[in-house]
């Protein structure tokens, strides 16, 4: 079972990493979400996997899955949720302000990106050399 | 009295349902929960009243009960029917879109009708016309379309009309 579990996390991670490395914001958000799922499962598993144990103190049934990683994962899920929400809205903001959804806001002249002062753009390089 | 009721118990049926649901949720009938459930059953409708301004009146509780019984039975039958249809040869099926003219006017009643249609024999309600006068239904196997329409109107729409609209009409 552990191997199956590890394999699942591994695939999620690999897919998450690949998506995180994409050039558009939406896949990146999905990738990071996948990574978050994967790491939550990982963190959870660190208490070792247990099947069929009660989740509340139960003197009759006995046994209990490690509660600490669960608490940690809960916190992690919430935080990941907040972060994902923030990131996707930021992606929207980037789309609005940069005009496209490329993570680097490309498709506009790259020089312009580095230089908000558009007029001397053409000659700025030459100028720099003279002044340096 | 009715003023008081409108403020404190805007949707008595809803309150009752909530109370029952509370007890179901907690899977208990201990007095503490009955009390807490009652409090919540009163509180929540008041809190959410602005989202449900229209009052709902059930004119004929007995009809409602009977309607529910019919529907439950139909669900059982319909499902077995559909199971047979699905497992049978798919080429024998005669799918159809049926436009059902509606007599119901209350949105709640229409919604319940639409839901009922979905749950019962081989039909799914697909679209309600903008004027809310026609319901478009998809039937999985409607070899006699008019019969299906008639049955729906007879079996479901009429009781619903009685339940929800008899006093307002």
């Amino acid at each position: 079972m552990e191997i199956l579990f590890a394999l699942s996390i591994a695939v999620m991670t690999a897919a998450g990493v690949f998506l995180t490395l994409r050039a558009r914001t939406f896949p990146v958000v999905l990738g990071l979400s996948l990574l978050a799922y994967a790491v939550n499962l990982f963190l959870f598993a660190m208490g070792r996997l247990q099947v069929g144990l009660p989740s509340v103190i139960n003197p009759v049934q006995g046994g209990y899955s490690d509660p600490l990683p669960q608490a940690l994962v809960l916190t992690a899920i919430v935080i990941a949720f907040g972060m994902t929400a923030f990131l996707i809205v930021l992606a929207l903001k980037a789309k609005a302000e940069l005009g496209n959804d490329h993570v680097d806001g490309l498709h506009q002249a790259q020089d312009e990106m580095a230089d908000p002062n558009p007029s001397p753009r053409a000659s700025s390089k030459a100028k720099r050399e003279i002044q340096s | 009295m009715s003023q008081l009721r409108r403020v404190w118990l805007p949707h008595p049926w809803l309150s009752f349902t909530l109370w029952l649901v509370w007890l179901l949720l907690n899977n208990t009938i201990n007095p503490g929960h009955m009390l807490l459930g009652a409090i919540l059953a009163i509180l929540l409708p008041i809190l959410t009243q602005s989202f449900w301004p229209e009052s709902v009146s059930l004119a004929r509780p007995k009809v409602l009960a009977k309607f529910l019984g019919v529907v439950l039975w139909d669900i059982l039958v319909a499902n077995l029917l559909v199971a047979r249809l699905i497992l049978g040869k798919k080429d024998h099926l005669q799918p159809a879109f049926l436009s059902i003219p509606l007599e119901l006017e209350s949105p709640l009643a229409i919604s319940i009708l639409a839901n009922t249609i979905c749950l019962t024999p081989g039909t799914v309600s697909c679209d309600l016309s903008a004027d809310q006068k026609t319901l478009l239904v998809h039937a999985l196997d409607a070899k006699q379309p008019q019969a299906t329409i008639d049955e729906i109107k007879h079996r479901y729409e009429r009781p619903l009309k009685e339940i929800f609209e008899s006093c307002s009409n």
Binding site: E2, M12, F18, L30, L34, L49, G82 | W22, L44, L128
Partner: protein, 936 residues
């Protein structure tokens, strides 16, 4: 209070104070800055005088204060013969330069700025020569680099001034850094940065394995500062400074700082072959190159600059000889060079000032127009040429003598005397040029101004210096001898050897060399035209050009490297981050010979789990494969979330499952809201190599995570969790241990977590304020905004879901649930209302400011924690009690519930705030023809 106990630091720091005063005073009167500076210089001299008396009595004065003892750093000053000599030169020539500058600067020049810089420079120089602590010396050393940068670039509108200053700063600054390193090594070897200790440890230093690096580093400082080959090229370009600056920096101060260092460290560092070859070699090369080049400069200051370089080479060469006598000669030449070179620069300045040019091709026959100045220039030039009866002759004779004696016994004995004679020839030639080409040689050509004598006061400093040249040259024993003796013995840290300052030593080889130099020099000068023409036919190494192109090369390389690495690209940054973590963790594991897996038995697999895992894996893969079809990809990630929560259920973590499920849906709604404004598909734009890199990283990450997971899961461990299990009920009052950990044992984490959530909500709100976005073009949309069936249904659903939320909330402490899940359920309930009825309709009915809900939630959670403080327990200490009421029965009242209520409110507030703000986005920028119809 004995002033003599702390006069040295005052002498060094007074100019800095004067700098501030001068800058301030200049606001009131144009010349006030000069007078303040002059006065301060005089005061400093005055302060020094009593101490000089003590030094002449044979004492070495040291005044120390603790600064940073652990680091060997003391605020520590030293006055010995060498320091006295240099301090007198700095102050004396400084005073003359101040007077000169008072008349030199034009009305356009800011007096305050000039004198402030000049005085800071003077203070820095004094600091160098008066320092006992070597780190302190480095401090002042670098200060001279900085202040000279300011002085050279004083005429900041001039490109050559800016570039010259930056070149000087780069070279001398680099030297300063080398000096710091060298001094650190020296301190490391000796165990102290105090000069007294270092000078007493010559043997130790020379025999230390770190001697050579130490020597090289210190010499780097010396050579850069004193413009020794191959670092000499900055000096001519520093001539862009106003002439008083050149007169000061390049006669007595800045460039002499390096020489001073040679004299200072002579007892500690000299006496090895390395010293001789490095110092002597650099000195000889500099001497020749400077002397040769000076002749061909048409600019007066250019000539003087190369002459300076040459003379600095001469002094360095003398130190390189390494004999005690050579040191005496070197120090003597330091004095002489300072006097004649300062006066020559001032003359050059006067000429520039009065004629408007420094080009010797234009300047001719000035003796007619400014005879007094001409006289001064001639005397000083002859001193520079080493003509008898002038001071330059004496030190040059000593130099020749030493050059002859040092090479005796060697097979190539003639080389050194020959080379120095050659330098002497050129020296004579350029000195002659300075005199003849400017003051004689026909009539001036196209001068911008009609030349005439400068203001009287402007010549006084030159007068004084020239008188000094004469006095020393004629009566050395009565003028320079005592101070020379004093300085030499301080430099040697030994009694001065026997030497004679007499004019006449008989007819010997050095005299022969002098005569040859004078004769051939004159010959050379009068045949200059052909030589100059020949010189100018050749391409010459233009150091400035090389420096500039080196600088551009540096900038280009820097840009190349930085942009290659820092591409301002998220993909690049993310790839590096992932790569680094993979690399380091793999390295970390492999450093130890731990087995990959442990011995813990693994669980059996069942078919359902296999199916679930298969779905999970496929869903993950298809999230990836379909990522260009965003909606499909989003749905796939929904499946991933669903199976993830199933896994939580399966492995006995219902709380997690509930949370994951709720979060999942809210996230999907959120992503759908956002997707409306984003393209529906992702373009194919990535190249194969990039894809391969990403795939490699992805696979490596997957493999890494697999191994990481298995490493841990296959091992046994012991955990602190038993404590939680044991104390959840007695200590936390709840049977749901996970929840008790969340609200009690580790309630502080949860507080942090809701703060994150609150911030996310607030941050999203802030981000979306005033944002304009157009929905992306896509399929035709229905006209009907809100399907009535859904609308109706949502009304029923809202109270029902809120009821479920209350249920989940209340049971959380003892059973799976809690404030967070309840909050999400309530949020989802509200979301359904929004989905069904639209923003406008819902907002009209839900008049709660979600900011306040968030704030209230945080306040409640915090206040719950603070309540414990009131009863004397730490923050977040929980309390619970069991209450029995009639009818109602037993129930538990726990402070954790209040905390959880805070959590609940924050979750609701943040989720709804974010989603609604996002939903509103389309309303603010809705330009499409369709309008929200709202609910009926």
């Amino acid at each position: 209070m004995n002033l003599l106990a702390f006069n040295l630091p005052i002498v060094a720091l007074l100019p800095f104070l004067a700098a501030a005063l001068a800058a301030y005073a200049a606001k009131f009167h144009r010349y006030a800055a000069a007078w303040v500076s002059a006065f301060a210089t005089l005061v400093a001299l005055g302060l020094l005088v009593p101490s000089i008396g003590q030094v002449f009595e044979g004492q070495t004065l040291i005044q120390s204060w603790t600064w940073l003892d652990q680091a060997g750093l003391q605020f520590s000053f030293r006055l010995d013969g060498l320091a006295t000599l240099f301090a007198l030169l700095i102050l004396g020539i400084g005073l003359l330069v101040i007077l000169y500058a008072r008349w030199y600067l034009s009305a356009n020049d800011s007096m305050g700025r000039f004198f402030a810089y000049l005085m800071m420079f003077m203070g820095s120089m004094l600091g160098i020569v008066l320092s006992e602590n070597l780190i302190q010396l480095v401090v002042f050393w670098e200060l001279t680099s900085i202040t000279s940068f300011l002085l050279i670039s004083y005429w900041q509108h001039r490109k050559d001034a800016r570039e010259g200053a930056r070149m000087a700063l780069a070279i001398t600054g680099a030297g300063g850094l080398a000096l710091l390193a060298g001094v650190l090594l020296l301190g490391h070897i000796v165990g102290s940065y105090q000069l007294s200790d270092v000078l007493a440890s010559g043997e130790l230093i020379r025999n230390h394995p770190l001697y050579l690096p130490t020597l090289v580093l210190i010499l780097l400082a010396v050579f850069t500062k004193s413009a020794q080959f191959p670092f000499h090229f900055w000096l001519p370009h520093a001539m862009a400074a106003p002439t008083p600056v050149s007169a000061y920096l390049h006669s007595a101060t800045m460039v002499k700082a390096g020489i001073f260092l040679l004299a200072r460290f002579f007892p500690a560092l000299s006496g090895t072959d390395a010293w001789m070859w490095l110092v002597g070699g650099a000195g000889m090369a500099t001497l020749l190159i400077g002397a040769y080049t000076a002749l061909f400069k048409h600019d007066l200051k250019g000539l003087l600059a190369y002459s300076t370089i040459s003379h600095l080479g001469l002094i360095t060469l003398l130190f390189g000889f390494g004999s005690q006598f050579a040191v005496v000669a070197a120090i003597f030449h330091i004095i002489n060079h300072a006097t004649f070179k300062a006066s020559l620069f001032m003359v050059a300045g006067i000429i520039d000032h009065e004629t408007g040019t420094r080009d010797m091709r234009k300047l001719n026959g000035l003796i007619k127009y400014m005879p007094h100045t001409a006289a001064l220039a001639i005397i000083a030039s002859l001193a520079m040429a080493g003509v008898p009866l002038l001071n330059g002759f004496l030190s040059k004779e000593m130099f020749f003598t030493e050059a002859v004696s040092i090479s005796q016994g060697s097979a190539l004995a003639w080389i050194i005397p020959a080379l120095v004679t050659l330098a002497g020839i050129f020296s004579v030639a350029y000195s002659l040029r300075f005199v003849h080409d400017v003051f004689f040689n026909g009539e001036p050509v196209d001068l911008p101004r009609t030349p005439h004598e400068p203001p009287r006061m402007m010549k006084i400093p030159v007068d004084l210096l020239v008188i000094l040249c004469l006095a020393v040259g004629i009566l050395p024993m009565f003028t320079v001898a005592p101070i020379l003796d004093l300085a030499a013995s301080a430099s040697l840290q030994a009694p001065t050897p026997e030497y004679s300052l007499a004019l006449w030593h008989g007819f010997n080889l050095p005299l022969m060399m002098s005569i040859v130099a004078l004769g051939l020099g004159a010959l050379l000068y009068f045949n200059r035209k052909g030589l100059i023409a020949a010189y100018e036919r050749h391409q010459h190494i233009d150091a400035k050009h090389y420096f500039q192109s080196g600088l551009h090369g540096l900038i280009w390389a820097a840009e190349w490297v930085s942009t290659r690495f820092d591409k301002s690209s998220l993909q690049n940054a993310a790839a590096w981050t992932l790569f680094a973590s993979l690399l380091l963790s793999a390295y970390g594991f492999m450093q130890f010979s731990s087995p990959l897996f442990g011995q813990r038995p693994l669980m059996a697999v069942d078919a359902v789990s296999m199916a679930a895992a298969a779905v999970l894996i496929f869903a993950s893969l298809f999230t990836l494969i379909w990522h260009r079809h965003r909606l499909q990809s989003l749905m796939m990630i929904g499946v991933v979330g669903l199976i993830t929560s199933l896994a939580f259920v399966k492995f006995s973590a219902p709380d997690l499952a509930l949370t994951q499920l709720s979060v999942e849906v809210v996230t999907i709604v959120l992503l759908l809201l956002a997707l409306y404004f984003l393209p529906q598909t992702t373009p194919k734009e990535t190249g194969v190599s990039r894809l391969a890199r990403d795939a490699l990283l992805a696979i490596a990450s997957g493999v890494g995570v697999f191994l990481f997971t298995m490493m841990v899961l296959s091992r046994e461990f012991s955990t602190i969790s038993d404590f939680f299990l044991a104390n959840s009920v007695p200590g936390g009052g709840g049977t749901n241990v996970v929840n008790v950990i969340l609200v009690d044992f580790r309630g502080f984490d949860t507080l942090g977590e809701i703060i994150v959530l609150a911030l996310a909500g607030l941050g999203i709100f802030a981000m979306l304020q005033g944002l304009q976005l157009q929905p992306t073009q896509r399929f035709q949309l229905t006209k009907e905004a809100h399907p009535p069936i859904l609308q109706t249904f949502s009304r029923l659903l809202l109270p029902l879901m809120l009821l479920v939320a209350v249920f989940i909330f209340l049971r959380g402490h003892n059973l799976p649930g809690g404030g967070f899940i309840a909050g999400l359920i309530a949020s989802v309930a509200l979301i359904v209302v929004y989905l069904a009825n639209g923003i406008e309709w819902t907002q009209a009915r839900l008049k709660i400011d979600m900011h306040l809900v968030i704030g209230l939630g945080l306040l409640i959670a915090t206040a719950t924690g603070l309540a414990a403080i009131l009863v004397g327990y730490p923050f977040l200490t929980s309390a619970f009690t069991h209450i029995h009421w009639p009818i109602v029965g037993d129930f538990e009242l726990a402070s954790a519930i209040a905390f959880d209520l805070g959590v609940f409110l924050v979750v609701v507030g943040s989720s709804v705030l974010s989603l609604v703000q996002l939903g509103k986005l389309s309303q603010s920028s809705d330009t499409s023809p369709r309008h929200s119809e709202g609910a009926k």
